[in-house]
């Protein structure tokens, strides 16, 4: 009987009907096309969970083991498939546990909608049980947020939240709903948001700027492209490829731009930034025109700004006007959606090749190959290297896996050595560098791309920051592959201690538990290896295993990631050892 009436209501989306605020939340999510959300219940959000129970055949709620896990999972989901990720939490501690994920999504422009419960309206401001001012707390780390205290405002606010999260430069949004509003009945009607008068998500395309940019690009002798996540967020991969191929300009990427272009494309010259490739870093300071596509000149990319690409004229393709001239002075700013602007500029671009200029990249690549890459991939030392493991994953997965890395040395090795054919395949916490991101983001990624193999790569440190999500993986049966590269150190910090603090290893050595037993405790198949001979077969076994799989690889304890641009140094001062 109960299900029957619900069924009827279901068919009535868009038609006015009297329902509770809590039910309205669910109906709004369904109307926005949400099929999975990640969350954790508690007092102030219980009415919504009650409705989730009723709608469980329509909306899959994944119970994580921590709210941070929920939001990182929502981020992983959003980044792998481009849809808005949804996380839900209760008031107070539930809401504050989302903050790291919000900050992460804000700085990495990830579309996420968080719904939090809040104490009843009459208790607001009274230090009630589990009351926190989450709107105040989350303001600096959200693209937009709001508090709803009346049921009738729920549909419009959720519609607005989804619209803001996914349009323009995407970002996280939080909607805080008081408990009274969840209980209150009202006439429900859902209208998707199509515009907000004070908000211009995409700047208008300016033809003059396109022409000016084209003229500058066509006149260049040593042009270089650096593309970022804007290409992926704007789904402009095909436009990028066409632009690169027609112009003949070598293209480098930021860590978040990785996978937007085939790793083996002849004009793909690798990663820029602190642990990027030697050639694009050095040649940033040799090029005459620097074409930045959907990237924001993060300090990890530029090194010392006063010595960054000073000789170059910069053309910046960007959706967010606030990024123009924020860090690097531009000659021509092409505002707009990079998919549109790249398509618009293409007819103006002359077909060219730059054989001599490309040779400079090749020469420097050979230097890096000999000094860094070869010794990492085919080491003479006894212990396994992180690069070897990543390379083995490339080989076994035929470059088809989604790689979700945590933060630290293994992350840099993953981004340096993983190879991709398909976009949206590299998921990592770039701007915030959030340890603990990897495992839950991989869960979300697997839910967002169930047909693709998803491999989480974590260090022994970061893995333990959200290790409890093994419980989610077990309960929800998420077939994600987990690789821990165990160096028994907080490796990246240890590297800095070695290089800049005379090897004073303050609090970076880790005494670890038996990770295999922990995984097995969650009924996840697990294995630990430490020998080169075991690597290929173990990765093979992991990738072929049907369900979740945990592989711990003991690696060299004191390896360092190179190349490296030390903080404060210029890109020209990129070190190979």
């Amino acid at each position: 009987m109960e299900t029957k009436t619900l069924q009827n209501k279901q068919e009535n989306i868009g038609v006015k009907m009297k329902i509770t605020g809590a039910e309205a939340v669910i109906r709004c999510l369904l109307a926005e096309g949400v099929d999975v959300l990640f969350g954790y219940p508690g007092g102030a959000i219980m009415p919504v969970y009650d409705e989730l129970f009723k709608f469980q055949d329509k909306l899959h709620h994944v119970l994580t083991r921590h709210e941070q896990g929920a939001i990182h999972a929502a981020q992983g989901y959003a980044r792998v498939n481009g849809k808005v990720g949804v996380a839900m939490a209760t008031s107070g501690p539930g809401a504050t546990n989302l903050v790291t994920g919000l900050a992460d999504a804000q700085i990495d422009s990830t579309p996420v909608v968080c719904i939090t419960g809040q104490v009843a309206r009459h208790l607001l401001g009274s230090d009630a049980f589990q009351e926190t001012d989450i709107v105040g707390i989350s303001t600096p780390v959200t693209k937009w947020n709001c508090q709803v205290t009346m049921a009738e405002d729920i549909p419009a606010m959720i519609a607005k939240a989804f619209y803001i999260a996914r349009t323009g430069r995407p970002g996280p949004v939080l909607v805080d709903i008081t408990k009274n509003a969840q209980f209150q009945e009202f006439d429900f009607e859902y209208k998707p948001c199509t515009g907000i008068r004070s908000y211009k998500p995409v700047p208008k395309l300016n033809v003059e700027k396109i022409e000016a940019a084209a003229a500058l690009i066509n006149s260049a002798k040593k042009p270089m492209i650096v593309f970022g996540q804007g290409i992926i967020l704007g789904e402009a991969e095909a436009e990028l490829k066409a632009f690169v191929e027609k112009s003949g300009i070598p293209a480098a990427w930021t860590i978040l731009g990785l996978s937007a272009m085939d790793s083996e494309h002849p004009l793909n010259v690798g990663m820029v930034g602190m642990h990027g490739n030697y050639a694009p870093n050095l040649l940033t300071n040799e090029c005459d025109v620097l074409i930045a596509l959907g990237m924001r000149f993060d300090d990890r990319v530029t090194g010392d700004l006063s010595r960054y690409a000073k000789q170059a004229k910069v053309v910046h393709f960007e959706i967010d006007p606030a990024e123009i001239d924020k860090n690097v002075k531009t000659e021509v700013a092409v505002l707009g959606d990079v998919k549109e602007t790249l398509a618009a500029i293409l007819p103006h671009i002359e077909e060219k090749t730059y054989p001599d200029w490309l040779k400079e990249f090749e020469t420097l690549y050979q230097v890096e190959l000999k000094k860094v890459i070869e010794p990492e991939l085919n080491p003479e030392k006894e212990g396994l290297t992180m690069a070897e493991v990543i390379n083995q994953i490339n080989i076994t997965s035929e470059q088809k896996a989604v790689i979700v890395s945590d933060v630290g040395q293994h992350q840099m090795f993953a981004c340096r050595y993983a190879k991709f054919k398909q976009s949206k395949s590299n998921i990592t916490s770039g701007g915030l560098g959030t340890m603990g991101f990897g495992l839950p983001a991989a869960m979300g990624a697997k839910m967002g791309a169930p047909d693709r193999p998803v491999v989480a790569i974590a260090g022994d440190g970061g893995y333990q920051m959200t290790i409890q999500e093994l419980g989610t993986i077990f309960q929800t049966q998420i077939p994600v592959k987990i690789v821990v590269l165990n160096n028994e150190f907080l490796g990246m910090v240890r590297q800095w201690q070695q290089l800049f603090f005379d090897k004073r290893y303050a609090s970076t050595e880790m005494i670890n538990p038996d990770f295999v037993k922990i995984a097995e405790g969650y009924h996840i198949k697990a294995k630990k290896i430490s020998k080169r001979e075991e690597l290929a077969a173990s990765v093979q076994e992991m990738m072929q295993h049907e369900g979740a799989y945990f592989l711990e690889v003991m690696v060299e304890k004191e390896d360092n990631v190179f190349p490296m641009i030390p903080t404060g140094a210029s890109v020209s001062e990129c070190r190979l050892s």
Partner: protein
């Protein structure tokens, strides 16, 4: 680049959390707000913040970018003192007997173009509207006689150029 006073004018939707969001941008960049005023604007349902900062043009430009990026900000502008007409107001509360005992006080009020707002048995209140230095002048002159209470408002200003907010809003309606 030299530090200067810049007056930032922000047209916004009327939103409870927005002032917090906007002031956070200054906080993040460690820029002290010299004065701030929030009020209604010439357009119905559109609010206006007037914020004065002392910084470089480069920084103020970056801040404007980050302010305009906020969903509920319609438009933000910055101006130097030369480009605007601006005023501040101040009120002073002073012991009543002084008004009658000290002739000098009456002169100060007259010469500075201040107004007497109210006079009671214990105190009288005078108001002064003008540029900051004019208010400071009155303040300095009254100080020796003992000021019981003093308060100065944030700067309010209008620009010499047109702001065209209505046009922006209209464009939205048409799209």
């Amino acid at each position: 680049m030299e530090n200067k006073f810049y007056t930032i004018t922000i047209y916004t939707e009327n939103n409870v959390g927005l002032l917090n969001r906007v002031s956070g941008i200054f906080l993040k960049r460690h820029i002290n707000i010299e004065s701030i005023n929030a009020s209604s604007s010439e357009i119905q349902d559109v609010h206006k913040y007037v914020i004065v900062v002392h910084t470089t043009e480069d920084w103020v430009r970056k801040i404007i970018g980050q302010i305009e990026k906020q969903v509920e900000v319609i438009r933000a502008y910055y101006h130097t003192d030369e480009e605007i007409i601006y005023q501040e107001s101040a009120i002073f509360k002073i012991k009543s007997d002084l008004l009658f005992d000290e002739r000098q006080i009456q002169n100060i009020i007259k010469e500075s173009n201040s107004q007497i707002v109210t006079v009671s048995r214990e105190f009288f209140v005078i108001a002064k509207t003008g540029r900051r230095h004019e208010i400071e002048e009155v303040h300095d002159k009254l100080k020796p006689y003992g000021i019981m209470q003093f308060v100065r408002s944030g700067r309010i200003s209008v620009s010499k150029e047109t702001m065209e907010i209505s046009k922006i809003l209209q464009e939205f309606q048409e799209n």
